[in-house]
């Protein structure tokens, strides 16, 4: 009897683990025709004009990278600042409420962030900078940075929580100031956490659909400035499925999906390695 239960649990687990391989297989299977028909060079061209038979997705790749990197550049320093605040630079009684707020932020739906950005941030940008409609790289990266902020804060925080309490007694006894302790000792000791937070934040930013779709303007072009409208790979998939129904455009769609999948998969493999290394090093100590 108990043998059956264990086998059942095992099959459930194998099923869960195999899904990701099936997913990868499906995406590859539907992308393959592109290779066979030699359209792969067309795929990496600069123009998305499906009615002229041009299916270049380079602008979307550029848009995704520009958005993810700029959102990370905004969110990361903010997240680091908040972590330092929580671990000693701010008043102690505020630390818990702040962390609670950050936890709460993970519960706010993405679509709500996007919605508020459309009606609050976009008009603000439109009225203060006389560049286009306000739906732009800048608007999207500001909104997206708020979305990925909790991910970054919680990861760095979990690392600092393991380090700071161990050090505090020693550093206080040595007369090292709080800020010295944090910037010279704790943060360098948390370097794996810092790196992991950046990578995970990037992964989340690449994978987000709704904010890019609602706020970034969706013009398929290489962004030239922060006020340009951009289209990300994720938004591209959503838009094409919603509007087109020719099968030729679909193949390039699956190529987008495959690129996204490979990006986030490598992000996760990298994280896995980092975590492994961090574990090993702390065990040696």
């Amino acid at each position: 009897m108990s043998k059956y239960v264990e086998t059942l649990l095992k099959y459930a687990t194998v099923f869960s683990a195999l899904i990701v391989l099936v997913l990868f297989g499906f995406l590859t299977y539907f992308t393959l025709p592109l290779f066979a028909e030699g359209q792969i060079t067309e795929l990496f061209s600069l123009h998305w004009r499906p009615f002229h038979g041009e299916f270049g997705i380079l602008p979307m790749i550029a848009g995704t990278l520009a958005l993810a990197i700029s959102a990370l550049l905004i969110a990361y320093p903010l997240g680091l600042g908040i972590c330092l605040f929580v671990h000693g630079l701010g008043p102690r009684w505020l630390a818990r409420p702040i962390l609670l707020l950050i936890h709460g932020m993970t519960g706010i739906p993405t679509v709500v962030y996007g919605f508020v950005a459309v009606f609050l941030l976009v008009p603000l940008l439109r009225n203060n900078f006389s560049h286009g409609s306000g739906f732009s790289l800048l608007a999207a990266s500001l909104t997206l940075s708020i979305l990925i902020l909790p991910t970054i804060v919680l990861l760095i925080n979990s690392q600092l929580e393991q380090i700071v309490p161990k050090l505090r007694l020693t550093t206080t006894a040595l007369g090292i100031s709080r800020i010295h302790e944090l910037t010279r000792i704790s943060l360098p000791a948390a370097s794996y956490g810092l790196l992991a937070a950046a990578i995970l934040g990037f992964g989340r930013a690449v994978g987000d659909t709704l904010i890019a779709l609602m706020v970034a303007g969706n013009a398929a072009q290489i962004p030239g400035s922060a006020f340009d409208s951009i289209r990300t790979l994720t938004a591209h998939i959503a838009l094409v499925v919603a509007t087109d129904s020719q099968s030729t455009t679909y193949h390039s769609l699956f190529a987008c999906g495959l690129i996204l999948f490979l990006t986030t998969a490598s992000v996760n493999l990298l994280l896995h390695r980092i975590k492994h290394r961090a574990c090993r090093e702390t065990n040696y100590e």
Binding site: S2, E6, L9, A12, T13, V14, S16, A17, L18, I19, V20, L23, F26, L27, F30, L78, L80, G81, I82, L84, F85, G90, L94, I98, H103, G104, T106, G107, P109, V111, V112, G114, F115, V116, L120, I146, S177, I179, H180, G203, G207, T209, L210, M214, T234, I237, A238, V241, A242, L253, F254, G257, L260, F261, T264, A265, N268, L269, L271, H272
Partner: protein
């Protein structure tokens, strides 16, 4: 120079914290200010009489009710599909899996967890294309497909939280069973699972929240703007997050915009409640361990 740098870091930590606090405060108060006045019978049922609308006797136009029902069905279905598999996998990984096998399985589940939700939606879409090309020429995106894709999305969360809840139990718990002559299965089901129940439950609630808020998956797998109440497993449906997205992009009248604010507020309250209760469950769990430890 050094002192200046320190002062800069100090100031930055205050600016960052206050700034984020302000932004989130602004977001919430803006939604409350715009959304609260719209909450009412009108928002949920439009012109239709409430009771008849609830029982589906009258078709509701331009209102929230069909989207509420759609989201409810979607979330229930996704949870039903994902919970048995997710919890079983979590139990296996925490208590039974041999070490090297466990590493491979965990890695694959981690990869699934990192997959963007739009790719999960695309997977569902590809599946329908595949069915059309092979067995069922008239297969189409539907409630069941959307729920299945959402189930894939929340599956890793369920696995991780179940696994973490079981692995965080103290070693005494793991020894109780063997010391009483229990088999591994008996230990798991009579000692470890009851002890980790709250943690697992908080994981379930959390993943319900994830399923309720996700928009990208359902966009590719069968949600439409004016479906009415869901017509069975293979019909199209409406959902709250998609309604927000749709109205933000396509609203025509001020009344529709008001309805969008109301919808956003309703969704925010819904996910807020789910996350709040998950957090509370988690907190009481920690409290219990601390008292015992």
């Amino acid at each position: 120079m050094n002192r200046l740098l320190n002062f800069g870091v100090y100031c930055w930590s205050w600016i960052a914290t206050l700034g984020v606090f302000l932004v989130v405060g602004l977001l919430l108060s803006y939604l409350l200010a715009q959304g609260l006045p719209t909450i009412g019978k009108e928002l949920f049922f439009g012109d239709a009489p409430a009771w008849e609308a609830i029982f589906g006797q009258v078709r509701v136009w331009d209102a929230l009710w069909p989207a509420c029902v759609g989201t409810l069905f979607l979330v229930l279905l996704a949870t039903l599909l994902a919970v048995p598999i997710g919890i079983s996998s979590g139990i296996y990984l925490a208590c039974f899996a041999p070490k090297s096998f466990k590493r491979v399985l965990s890695l694959l589940v981690e990869l699934l967890a990192g997959t963007p939700s739009i790719v999960m939606g695309l997977f569902g879409f590809a599946f329908i294309l595949f069915l059309r090309n092979t067995f069922f020429p008239d297969a189409n995106t539907s409630l069941l497909l959307a729920a299945a894709c959402l189930a894939l999305l929340i599956l890793p969360y369920l696995i991780f939280t179940t696994q973490a809840a079981l692995e965080s139990l103290s070693d005494e718990y793991r020894l109780i069973g063997p010391s009483l002559g229990f088999s591994q299965i008996q230990t798991v089901f009579h000692v470890l699972l009851p002890a980790a129940g709250r943690g697992i439950l908080s994981g379930v609630v959390l993943s319900i929240g994830r399923a309720a808020e996700d928009t990208a998956v359902i966009m590719l797998t069968g949600v439409i703007a004016n479906a009415g109440l869901p017509q069975g497993l293979f019909g199209k449906f409406e959902a709250l997050p998609f309604r927000i997205f749709y109205l933000a992009a396509e609203y025509q009248t001020p009344a529709e915009l008001d309805s969008a604010y109301g919808t956003a507020l309703v969704l925010l309250c819904l996910t807020g409640m789910l996350y709040g209760s998950a957090l509370a469950l988690h907190k009481t769990l920690e409290l219990r361990w601390n008292q015992h430890g």
